[in-house]
């Protein structure tokens, strides 16, 4: 096992990783920006040091300072969390080259899966289900039109280097294609410095279903059930649950099998998430693989009883997975709400000082957060301030428990998405599990009507 791990992140995920270190008896080093000198992750860690000013590019993304910090504190491993350097193949590679273990997949895994059209091609070669679309990148709008004619409208144009909805365009008919292609190209160029585009069939009312996998360094790979992340706004997830109301045992096994095949196709190591689109006829298609721990990992922990972050560390330290696939049992149902420091109607950030924070508690309630009363929410960073996670014997108990937890939760001094979450939990369609990725859009339309 490692002696000391540097946690190259901040906020709730840094706290989460430090907790895992403590439970494993491994020392932890927090790094922080000037703005985070009093942050919770800094107080929790065994050691800490400042790595730069508030701007993420100069601190939490500052590879030289982070590696120096690891060196002078004699860390033998680095956990990148999500965001910042979470999926940075170069960073993983540098860590590998100087003998500091990067707790995550190989730099090659990250690079392969980071290039979306490349990953897609690879899946096709392995005979795995991908969305109908172009084979690799498309060079021109003419090529795009040919692909679209073959797979049928509507189609979606995506940036190969894409993420977070940027560089994406939905096209409903041929005459709109040329303009959309150019727009997506320009956006991709400015957002990612990479104009590579590809085309896929666009589905109405799909679900976003993702499967958590774990693979040890010997290649043993298991799936840990799915997460339904369909409640999202502009590709930002707001509520996640597991099991999905749309997935039965048979489909779960099938999803799990394919997710493991995806991982094995690239000799994947450590924790990862395979994202699928599930259409109305319960057919599913590979979308992409996230090569990091995800924000919503706790719901999988709740229903499997497996501590994913500790497993990441144990795998990176060379330990074998102690479970076979048949040992993984899904127990009950879990939901996560992401509480963001945002105006609940317009999603504009709401930084400031939290004058009162009262987290919910009691049975089946877990809170992952780095805030407390008096914390300052900085405009420099992500607006996620707390994750409320509940676990119940079934979806009904989970829903009632989350409704209760949302009512108990008090955040004063800034605006948060709490009121929005409460309203969603009152929605009959949501309660019945009838929703797709377009749920929130319709929800807002109905609410403002």
């Amino acid at each position: 096992m490692f002696k000391k791990i540097l946690v190259a992140n901040r906020g709730e995920i840094a706290v989460r990783i430090i907790r895992a270190c403590k439970e494993l008896g491994v020392r932890s080093v927090a790094v922080h920006s000037d703005a985070d000198a009093d942050a919770h992750h800094v107080r929790l860690a065994d050691e800490h040091l400042c790595i730069g000013p508030a701007e993420p590019a100069l601190s939490y993304r500052n590879i030289p300072n982070i590696l120096s910090a690891a060196e002078i504190t004699a860390c033998d491993a680095i956990h990148p969390g999500y965001g910042f350097l979470g999926e940075n193949a170069h960073f993983a590679e540098v860590c590998e080259s100087i003998g500091i273990k990067f707790i995550g997949p190989t730099s090659e895994n990250i690079a392969t899966m980071g290039d979306k059209s490349n990953a897609r091609e690879l899946m096709i070669r392995h005979g795995l289900p991908v969305l109908p679309g172009s084979e690799g990148e498309i060079a021109s709008e003419h090529e795009a039109a040919a692909v679209a004619a073959k797979i049928g409208y509507p189609v979606i144009i995506k940036a190969s280097a894409g993420g977070g909805g940027r560089g994406m365009r939905v096209v409903n008919k041929e005459e709109d294609l040329a303009h959309a292609f150019q727009a997506a190209k320009a956006e991709a160029a400015s957002a990612f410095g990479d104009t590579g585009l590809y085309v896929e069939r666009f589905f109405l009312e799909p679900r976003h279903i993702e499967v958590q996998i774990l693979a040890d360094e010997r290649g043993r790979t298991i799936s840990l059930g799915e997460r339904d992340c369909s409640i999202q706004r502009r590709y930002q997830k707001l509520i996640e649950e597991t099991p999905s109301p749309a997935v039965d045992d048979r489909l779960r096994r099938e999803l799990g099998r394919v997710a493991v095949e995806v991982a094995q196709a690239v000799h994947y190591r450590n924790a990862g998430t395979v994202e699928f689109l599930l259409d109305k006829d319960r057919r599913f298609y590979f979308m992409e693989m996230n090569t990091r721990i995800q924000v919503e990992h706790p719901i999988t922990e709740e229903v499997t009883g497996i501590d994913l972050v500790k497993e990441q560390i144990k795998i990176a330290a060379g330990m074998s997975l102690p479970w076979k696939q048949q040992d993984v049992k899904i127990n009950g149902h879990s939901i996560e709400c992401r509480i963001n420091a945002e105006c609940p109607e317009k999603f504009t950030p709401s930084p400031g000082r939290i004058t009162r924070f009262h987290p919910p508690g009691g049975p089946g309630v877990r809170v992952d957060t780095a805030i407390e009363t008096g914390s300052e929410v900085s405009c420099h960073y992500d607006s996620l301030i707390a994750k409320l996670i509940v676990h119940g014997v079934n979806r009904e108990e989970s829903l009632a428990r989350m409704r209760r937890a949302l009512d108990e939760c008090v955040v004063e001094g800034i605006k948060t998405t709490l009121p929005l979450h409460r309203r969603i939990f009152d929605d009959p369609d949501f309660q019945k599990g009838r929703f797709s990725t377009s749920f929130l859009e319709r929800f807002f339309a109905a609410y403002s009507a």
Partner: protein, 179 residues
Amino acid sequence: MKRRAARAISKIAKSAPKPRPDALIDPKVLQELVDVFHSAGVADLEVERGGLRVRLRRQEAVVAGQSREITVPVSEALRQSGPVETPASLAETEGLITVTSPIVGVFYRSASPETEVYVEEGSYVRKGQVLCIVEAMKLMNEIESEVDGRVVKILVENTKPVEYGEALFLIEPGARPEA
């Protein structure tokens, strides 16, 4: 590197100067109000008289929306400027300049164990003169003085690790060797 960013406590000179006629308020009068306020154990004190209004509110009162006004600006400014430790605040009050580390690494006072140190306490330096090296990832980064002046204090021991923003030297700017 077990190191807590100490809360900078800057000492404000107690001998308040005589108020100029155009001053907003006599500092002594204000100080008296503040003293009464503190010993009074109230949350809020407002005094208005002849167009002058003074309002005192206790720091950190946990009331939604109010905290920003209450926060004492000095401590806020200090926090923003990084893990400033006592030397830095000394610098503020005494007109000294603090040279901080722009990177994370190991502090060296000389180019190699065999060579002489770049500067000593009391040394006069020119703008652009190398003060020390901070080694990061096997790279030697020379840290230069941004001013002409005198090295008043060297704050870090040779070969010790330093974090970003850590104070390395106190420089008295403008000081020149006597002719």
